[in-house]
Symmetry: C2
Subunit: 181 residues, 2 copies
DNA sequence: TAGTAATACATCGGCACCGATGTATGCTCT
DNA sequence: AGAGCATACATCGGTGCCGATGTATTACTA
């Protein structure tokens, strides 16, 4: 999740840790803040795995900074993670949004469509948060106003996303036909 | 998160671990599956903290089962966690939904309203996933179709939830007036 | 009668993440 | 001249969670 965001931001341009942190905070921080003590170890992990390099620069503004650069392997890794996200990356909204935020880096429309199609398939499964036996319940069947709220909100999200997915998929497939390779 | 769900389900009735797992899977499993190796240690933690007791029963259906029972401290703990959720429980949709799923156990309408009001305040903050300097961008200003999708979906969710929150809040406040204590 | 599935619980190693805390530098305001 | 703040990186202990694996029992089914 965090690693995906790091790779995604560095794919565009080399950044130092602090700037990276600000961008990640802007992207997902209002929902789940990123602790510094999570970011720096994550950077080190990626460096150790050969996905990025760190270049020490004398502190132009403040203390010395390490400019982070994706390696070829790092770029490959990002494309791989975007093209074949794990199951939870598709189902968990937080993770899914992070995938979406960087999906443009996967510049093949067909590959992008494949990823969107997986999300579409997931949303089309009949699922709820509450069941009677096997049967998913819908909002009107619940007495509890708070649980009814969950279903009301989830349904609104689902509808909006399904509409967006379908229209974006036809767009992408149109583009894939025009420019097949 | 998981602990809240455990406390929440046991608040209604004593259950054994396996049944608990099925209920948690029904509630949040389609988004984030719960591993068994996460559930059982969590139960142990809560037992160690004196929030629940385990009673071994001979296996009526299969292997022996431990029936889990909330203690008075456990009930108190749940009410506390519901009445004063952490910041992330309010902002992260996954956690927030779990709070909502059990908020009825907090049977004072005024206390319930306080929690909903916190979520309302969070959603009313002007926030986005993408910024130009300080200014939050909205969907129409983005070229990237995927990022535009994020904002489109988030806006639909936000609208539905704001409407639900406002109407539920007036309901709750009406009930709080009628029955002040 | 053997195989498989469902029920039911447990442990182990590993890792991501967090809060607290520490160390510097350089800029701005008073 | 000194305080305070933003910049910038780092370590440490703790914990929640996961995947893999193991152990039993009961029920079904081929």
């Amino acid at each position: 999740m965090l690693e995906l965001a790091i790779l995604g931001f560095l794919y565009d341009a080399p950044l130092h840790g602090y700037e990276l942190r600000k961008r990640i905070t802007a992207l997902t921080g209002h929902v789940r803040p990123v602790a510094e003590s999570t970011l720096y170890p994550a950077i080190k992990r990626l460096e150790k795995a050969g996905l990025l390099t760190r270049e020490t620069q004398p502190g132009s503004v403040a203390a010395q900074r390490h400019v982070l650069n994706l390696t070829a392997a790092g770029r490959e890794e990002l494309r791989g993670r975007l093209a074949e996200p794990g199951r939870v990356d598709i189902t968990d909204e937080n993770r899914w949004f992070t995938v979406l935020a960087f999906l443009r880096h996967l510049d093949d429309p067909a590959a992008q469509a494949t990823v969107l199609a997986r999300r579409l398939a997931f949303l089309e499964e009949p699922a709820s948060f509450f069941y009677e036996g096997e049967r998913p319940l819908h909002a009107e069947e619940l007495d509890d106003p708070f649980r009814r709220g969950i279903l009301t909100i989830a349904r609104a999200t689902s509808r909006a996303e399904l509409a967006w997915l379908r229209s974006t998929l036809t767009d992408l497939r149109g583009r894939a036909e025009t420019k097949p390779f």
